[in-house]
Every structure is written in C-alpha cells, then in structure tokens.
Point group: C2
Chain length 466, copies 2
Amino acid sequence: MNNLKREHIQAFKEICGDNYIFVDEESLQHYSHDETETLSFLPDVVVKPRTAQEISAIMKICNEHRIPVTPRGAGTGLSGGALPHLGGVLLSTERMNTIIEIDERNLQVTTEPGVITEVLQDAVKARGLFYPPDPSSRGSCFIGGNIAENSGGPKAVKYGVVRDYVLNLEIVLPSGDIIWTGANVLKNSTGYNLTQLIVGSEGTLGIVTKIVLKLIPLPKYDLLMLVPFASLEKASEAVSAIFRAGFTPSALELVEIDALQIVSRMVDSYAVPVSDDIAAHLIIEVDGNNMDILMSEMEQIAELMMQYEGGEVFFADDAQQKAELWKLRRRTAEAVKIAGYTIEEDTVVPRAELPALVKGVKELGKQQGFHAVCYGHAGDGNLHIRIKKEGTPDSYGDEAMTKSLRDLFELTRSLGGTISGEHGVGLIQKPYVDIVFDPVQLALMKGIKKTFDPNNILNAGKIFDA
Amino acid sequence: MNNLKREHIQAFKEICGDNYIFVDEESLQHYSHDETETLSFLPDVVVKPRTAQEISAIMKICNEHRIPVTPRGAGTGLSGGALPHLGGVLLSTERMNTIIEIDERNLQVTTEPGVITEVLQDAVKARGLFYPPDPSSRGSCFIGGNIAENSGGPKAVKYGVVRDYVLNLEIVLPSGDIIWTGANVLKNSTGYNLTQLIVGSEGTLGIVTKIVLKLIPLPKYDLLMLVPFASLEKASEAVSAIFRAGFTPSALELVEIDALQIVSRMVDSYAVPVSDDIAAHLIIEVDGNNMDILMSEMEQIAELMMQYEGGEVFFADDAQQKAELWKLRRRTAEAVKIAGYTIEEDTVVPRAELPALVKGVKELGKQQGFHAVCYGHAGDGNLHIRIKKEGTPDSYGDEAMTKSLRDLFELTRSLGGTISGEHGVGLIQKPYVDIVFDPVQLALMKGIKKTFDPNNILNAGKIFDA
C-alpha cells in the first residue's frame, strides 16, 4: 500500500521521542476521520512533532522513501483535507500550540499552527487587538488549519478572510527544507507571493510551522439584529441592497427558516420568530467605535429592509441575547446535519447573484426530488447548502446525489461563482473541479505542486491528482 | 542576439494590422526606457495588440521560436520591469484601454490593462465607488502595470495595496493559452491562488488582459494635516504611536525636510513650514462618513503628536490646500531625482522599526560619505530613500553606490523588512535578491516560472535569472 516500514517508525521515535509516535488502534481510529461525515481512512502511524526541525527530519525520511504524509490540525475540516486516504504518516500539529509573540508595537502576532483560533483571538483581544476571521468551528479548529483552507466566517464580509491577515509563514517543504515565505511587512513586492500561494493550498505544498498575522484595533461596540422575510429570494435581494446603500455590516448572514427551526429545537434556548409566513432571516451586525453612528446605521438598514418586505425587526438587546443568536447561527450546520441532510456545500457567487443561486437551488430540488436548506455568509455571496432526498437520507457517494451536486456546482459556475468559498476542495469537492478549472489551469496547479513536492508525498490526491 | 526574424514581424502585422507594428528608430527609442533613470535597451519590434486573442497569436509565435517578449504598460515603473533588455518583442498594452463594465450591483469593475489608474478611479468615483490604490504616478500609470508590481500608494495604509482588490484576472500564458486565474467572488478556497501569484509577478508569468477589481463605497469626507518635527526619528516614532492608539489614518506619509525643500522650490506653489528647527513632516489624512468623528480624530491625533515633540499643526482648510499638499508629496520623488539623487529605493520594514531604519540610514551615510533623503508611506513602514554621494552625483552602477545600497538592504533585512514594498524587483533590485531570498526560496520561484514559461521567453531575466 505504501512504503512505510518498521525502521521508519523507529526513526520517527528517535526524532520526536517514543511518547509522540502512535500505532495503536485507538489512535489510528481517532485520526482516521474529520468533520466530513462518514469518511474514514486509517493512517499507518500518527506522529506528533513539537518543532519545525522535527518535522523537517520526518519529511526527509518520507521524501526519500516516498511515504505519504497527511498534515492535520484539529480535524474540523469539511472537505476531507486532513484525511489520510493513502495511509502512511498522519502528522498532527497539536503539540505546536504556543502563541510565540503578540507584537503590540507592530500589531502582529506570531504563533504556532496548533493554537485554537478562539484562543488566539482571545489572547490578542486581551491586548485590545483584533484577529477577525472566525469560522463556525473557531472554538475547536486550529489556526494552522485555517491557513490551509483560507477560512472565512461571518466577519469576512467586513474584515476579509484568513489570507488578508497572513503576512509571513514558516513552512517545512516536502524535501525537509525550512523556509519563510515572505517578510513581516504590510506591503511586499519582492518576488513571487509564496505566502499567498501557501494560504488555501490545503497542506499540499508545505507544512506550516509558524504564522505571522496582521492584527487591527478591536472595535469598541457592535449591534445585532434579526430580520424575518416572507420570501427567501427577497431576503437574498435585500443583501446586496445594503452594500449598494453604502453600508458595510460586520456580519450579514442568511438562515432559511427550515434550518432555523431545526437548530432552534436542538439548542432550545432562544425564542426566534418562527411562523408560517416567514421563509428566512437575515442576521445583521454592525460594529465600530461610536455607538450613535451604529444606532443610526442599524435604523437605516432596518428601514431599507422594509423596502424588501422585511418583517418586524428583532434587536438583540444585550450580550446574552447576542451570544444566543450567534450560537443559533454557529450551530446551524451541526443541527441540519443531524437532521439527515448531506454534507455542507460551500458555493460562492458574486453577491448580487445570490437570489439567482437560491432560486436555482430550489428549482433543481423540485426537478430532482431533493430538499435543500440554505444558510451562510450572504454578504460575501457564500451560501452553504445541504440537501436531503425526499424520504431517505442519502449518503455521500450516492449516484443521484452526485448528479445533483454537479448540477448545483454548474449553476454556481454559470453565475460567475465557484465551488468553495471557505472550506477548500480536499477530497470532497475534488470530483467537481473540472467544472471550474480547465486543463490548462489544472496543469499550472500541478506544475506548482511538482515544484514544491516532486515526489508527491505531501497530502497527495487532495484538490487534484498530481 | 535573439531569434526574431523578418517573417515573424510580418506575422505580427497579419495578427494586429500593419499600423500597430513598429520597427522605426523613434518608436524603438521611445519604448527603450522607463522611469528607471538612465537605463535604456532597444527592442527589435514594438507590437500594440488590441485583444487577448491577438496577444495569444503573438505569444504562440514567440514561444515556438524562443523570441523574448517584454510586456509594458505606461512605462512608469521604477524597477525596470518594462525594459526590453534582451531585445526582441516589446508588447505594449496601450490600446487595451477600455473599462469594460462597472458592476454597481456587485461593487466590481472589469477593465482592460491599458486604462490609466486615475481614469479608472474617476470612472468608479462618478458612481459613488472607490478603488483606493493610488501610486504617485496614478495620473499616467496603467492599471495593468499596477497589477504587475502590486502597487501601493498613500491610501494603502488604511485600504491595502493592489492585491487586496484583485478578484480575478484573464491572462495570456507564454504558450498562448488564455485563462482566468480565479472567479469574480469575494471568497475563494478552490485550488491554488493563481490570482495572487500573478499580482506582483512583474509580467514574468503571463500577460494580464482583463482585470476584475473589488470596489468599496466612497468615503464622504477627508481631513488633512501637516505636522512638523524637530527630529526625523521622533517623527518616525510618532507613526506607530498613532496606530497603537487605535487610529487608522487613510494616509500617513513622512517627508524629510531636505526633500520638502527641494520639491517646494520646484513646485513653488505652497507655503510649507520650513525652518532650521524642522527635520521632517508627517502628512496625516483621515477619511470617513461622519465629519464630527473625523474632526475629533484629527484633534486627538494632533494632541498625540505633541507627545512626540510635534510642532505646530497645519490643517489644510479646503480642497485647494489639500490638493497642493498632495501635489508636493506626489512630486517629491521627481524633484529629488532632478536634484541629483540616485534611484528611489523602496525599503519596507515592520512599522515600528521605522525609527531604527531611519537612524541606520543616516549612520550608514556618515560612515560611507553619502547623503540620504527619506520620504514615503511611513504608516506602512515603506520608506523611500534616495542617496547622493558628497560632491559628485553618482550614477547607477557605481561600485561604491552598489556597496552602499547592499548595506542599506542588509539593514532593512535585519529589521525584519525586505527590499521592495511597492516597486518590484525588476532589473534594478535583482542584484540584491540574495539578501532576502535563500537558494531554496529562489528555486521555488524558478520552478513556478518554469511551470508558466518553460522556454523562458516572457520578461526573462527580471526578478531573477531563471
């Protein structure tokens, strides 16, 4: 199956220490899956190095002997990027969990990859600083995984995604060489942008071992409201109207009523307006340093929403109400999944095409006999879709489901969009990349892969077959 | 010298039309130089295609016959990126000067590369939209050249550089293949980020033929002030204090008094405070939608400046005063150049290291007998430096000057910085890239170059020797 031998495992033990190399069944099982539904692949060995130097030594062995290596953060990914589908070495960064320096003079943080995103956010927040990207899994995901997938989250609509904050990366190449990709500067026109090439490359080009992130001042206040709509299309039309009117909310989320009903039952902690004449809600947040202005913005946005047939606005009055509302939004994916819907799709279109996407999804469902629930980062045009076949809950791999997903992605593409806004391609979207990349584009990506990883040992077979 | 033959020129004429292929002495001379001082290299032929398809046909011929191609925008570059140093084909994008679509629904613009940056900015401004990157040459440079060099400008400190606005690019590869690099979406985690790889690649990987840029709402107001300092170091210390206090100015420029005196004489239109006890000025701009808040911010910043021994603040009262002050800043480079200083260096360091850089530059000057003037985008840590040898104005290529520049870049590197913040490497900084890139990093860049341009015909010998 692959070239891993007992002597290599012994060598890994000498590099990392006996305690950090695992071949027992329980460990292998634990690292065989991530958040991509039922997929599971056993690695042959799990290694937990502590330093870039240890990783370098491991990679040299694996490169020489052509042993597959799958790097892994917290395993919260939704595209299968951390699945060891070729066996071999599962390399976990969980022990590399130190925030190395919060540089308040330069508004930067240097961190190891195994730090939980929320831990990092809280640490910089304690110094009055802000690292905005906040995927739903921020309480458990690692910052290194966020780099690999170029994660987003609700705040991306105002503050951008992970790539907008990455200044410089230390990576270990498949050869074992350790390099920095750039410099710790805000502007850089010196050579090719290796930093941005690594961000979103899903662990296929190098293993990130240090991360330098830009920080910004923490905004003092935020306000949150929920607006119900009688029509999903009207709700999605209202989204781009907000930006065209000159507002830039710090979050602008869409949740279809089906999803909200499911999550409300699960969380059972909060009275969100649910009635027969509501089809979807927008969750709208503004933030800044002046409360009067925020209040005025909220009022203006609320008025604008009425033009799009928005219903009675619900303002979250205090921190607790805000937290509960966000909990509902953040746990939507989980709840909908439990309710038997397939894996979360991650379509993204130009913002104003959102109504066409939403409408198209519903029409496809009618034609092909599936039920879709939609939710996500509407302000970015990033719509998560989960579908369920009428009657039976189908699993990944089902032929009819694959056909439906393909049609869904073709629709997304036809609207100027693409198949992943923040989850990555990994294994899960890989069968569909031909929809968005022609052979010339794929050849360029494969050439880049070959430059970084000539023996195709690092997370091979993710995104595309090299 | 190269493989260009009469038959190829004939083929170019058939592709573009006779009127757009030039071999006369005057044309060749015109395209032999850019803004990089006295450097001049004659191309063998100048071609002015109108479409990506024409460029594709040209590239197929050049690729087959290994003919060097140098793409060129407006020729305002400061690193020699558009110099046809190998002869062959000079490919000018000047006829590709149409703004294709301003998409107000999605806050995007699609443009051809030969549009002057300021023309593009004005066109979107007329719709209430904002494309912030504003290099000093914005009145004459092309947006395509800005993509090639990942340009910045004063607004970058708040709004980011070119790369932060590029969503998608149509490029012609050296093979003649035409591809789009991504999708017109705000978030994208689908495959390697080819878009960001092209931005700042200095025309070495592909020829950009269409550009999709993100736009933002135009801020309603701005305020501008000038603060004198008795010490250059104090001025540069004050810079990072502004950000640490939570302000994000829309411009934060530093101009040393020598530079200001030179440009004041040249422009002769404005009474900027100049006296024996002033060493430098900060130009500080804030912008936003609420005038009261801006006034309050300006006052707070002005107070903060006093703590750093800032002198009497001068507020620009009206649009004319603002325009005059910006004219002084924008024409600084030109004036200092006329006064006999060498080419403009483009050092960039983490913002808080600016005082150390400024101090180091002055010390180097004392040791090595040169005089340096400093100015630039202090808020980004991006300091332009021009030096003049005592007595004689030296030219580029002088051995002692090369040594001084090397020391200057070594200093920049030691402070965590790099050699180009917004101008690119091109030919001019190429002798110094070993300071910031080790052989492994260079090998990766060369591998990427080979993937895109296996025959090394496109802007070969820029950044590095492939």
